[in-house]
């Protein structure tokens, strides 16, 4: 995800200090991977250079960040365009799962054993996310749901491919 657009979107609510933006980014989007302060200020500097934000004069006081940032009309326009543009529905036609299955069949290894192991790994992650849903906040639950639906898609593909290994083997082996 674009950190600069996320920060820009947070800034659209109201003029903010870098610290506030980092705090809100970490709360809503960080999910255990906090944004380094350096990246926050570098991103804001780039946005200011490109005319998406304006940095107000530094306010007096201690601490590293005394500048308040304000989004520009161009910044708002960028956010509008970004939000209105659907994310690419990635077809994933060259997934590592598929490559592993084909290479296993080509080399005479057990593609079924690989798919079983992959299914078990996916299910472990599903259980972790299900636990997060049970114990976490609504934000956690919705993000866990997103992950679970993607895992579910992989699992359905794993099932279908398991059932078609014989036919696939005929296609990819001499």
């Amino acid at each position: 995800m674009s950190v600069s657009l996320a920060l820009l979107g947070l800034l659209e609510r109201e003029p903010s200090h870098g610290y506030d933006l980092k705090r809100d980014y970490d709360t809503f989007f960080g999910r255990g991977k906090p944004l380094p302060f350096g990246q926050v200020y570098a991103t804001l500097a780039r946005l200011a250079r490109d005319g998406r934000v304006i940095a107000a004069e530094a306010e007096p006081g201690a601490g590293p960040d005394r500048k308040r940032y304000v989004i520009t009309e161009q910044g708002v326009s960028d956010i509008e365009t970004w939000l209105a543009t659907p994310v690419d529905a990635e077809p994933h036609l060259q997934t590592v799962l598929f490559v592993k299955v084909v290479l296993a069949l080509m080399s005479g290894r057990s593609a079924e054993a690989y798919l079983d192991a992959q299914r078990a790994a996916h299910m472990r992650r599903m259980r972790e996310l299900a636990e997060l849903k049970r114990t976490g906040t609504l934000v956690d639950a919705l993000l866990a749901d997103h992950g679970m639906f993607h895992l579910e898609a992989d699992l359905r593909w794993i099932e279908l491919t398991s059932a078609r290994l014989g036919a696939l083997a005929k296609v990819v082996t001499p």
Partner: protein, 239 residues
């Protein structure tokens, strides 16, 4: 991590296994449904039995529950073989020690919610007042308070499935068999039913055999096994 078909679950200590299938085979006429399926369930464990349609997972559940008898192989419950017991003994065992939840609640539509929940207790010979009292204890736990007198034919799908869950657990069974318990529900309602099922089973230390083709439902279990072509092809062991 994964295990072969013949050893799935066999590394568990014998005392921990409440239910076990050993090399179970069963055919319906010329059609094999199970072909040497082996697996086990630990006390208090929630086990998901997954697999494609027609793989044999529901047949395996019916064998484990003593509803069907295998042609060959063994079914053990609490350390004792049950596959050669007579129909009457198995019926009593199902009534007294097992609970069941199916995809379509299979409630009695003419009976009220509390009567449906109390039914297994009444069949066990519990006095009616006691049975209804225990049934009422489940209403609040499963978000059914206020519905006790409602006829089951008038319930929503989610309500009916929660009644079915209460009925399955009201006898405090050692094993709950759940066959696609959320299969007829939308995602959110299904999740609510699964949340309640897991909490109730954990509280009672009831083992659960959960047949499902849905990975999101299986994610509620402690581990899963895969049934394919009548065999258990993979399953993680409890760490």
């Amino acid at each position: 991590m994964s295990t072969s078909s013949s050893s799935a679950g066999s590394d568990q200590p014998a005392a921990a296994r409440v239910l076990e299938a050993r090399e179970v085979s069963l055919s319906f006429g010329q059609t094999p449904a199970l072909r040497g399926a082996s697996m086990s369930v630990a006390t208090g464990e929630i086990l998901a039995v997954m697999g494609p349609s027609g793989s044999g997972k529901s047949t395996l559940l019916h064998c484990l529950a003593g509803i069907l008898l295998p042609d060959t192989g063994e079914i053990r419950f609490a350390g004792r073989r049950i596959d050669y017991l007579g129909e009457n003994v198995r019926t009593g065992m199902r009534r007294d020690r097992f609970g069941f939840v199916f995809q379509f609640g299979q409630l009695v539509p003419e009976l009220s919610v509390e009567e449906n929940i109390a039914l297994p207790l009444l069949l066990k010979g519990t006095r009616r007042a006691d049975a209804v009292s225990r049934a009422r204890g489940w209403l609040e736990r499963l978000d059914l308070a206020g519905l006790e007198r409602r006829r089951c034919g008038e319930l929503s799908g989610g309500q009916a499935q929660r009644v079915a869950l209460a009925r399955g657990l009201v006898t405090d069974p050692e094993v709950l068999f759940a066959d696609e318990p959320t299969g007829s529900l939308d995602s959110l309602t299904g999740e609510r039913v699964m949340d309640l099922l897991v909490v109730a089973a954990r509280e009672q230390n009831t083992s659960v055999v959960l047949v499902t083709h849905d990975p999101r439902v299986a994610a509620y279990a402690d581990r899963e096994i895969m049934v394919r072509d009548g065999k258990v092809t993979s399953g993680e062991l409890i760490p």
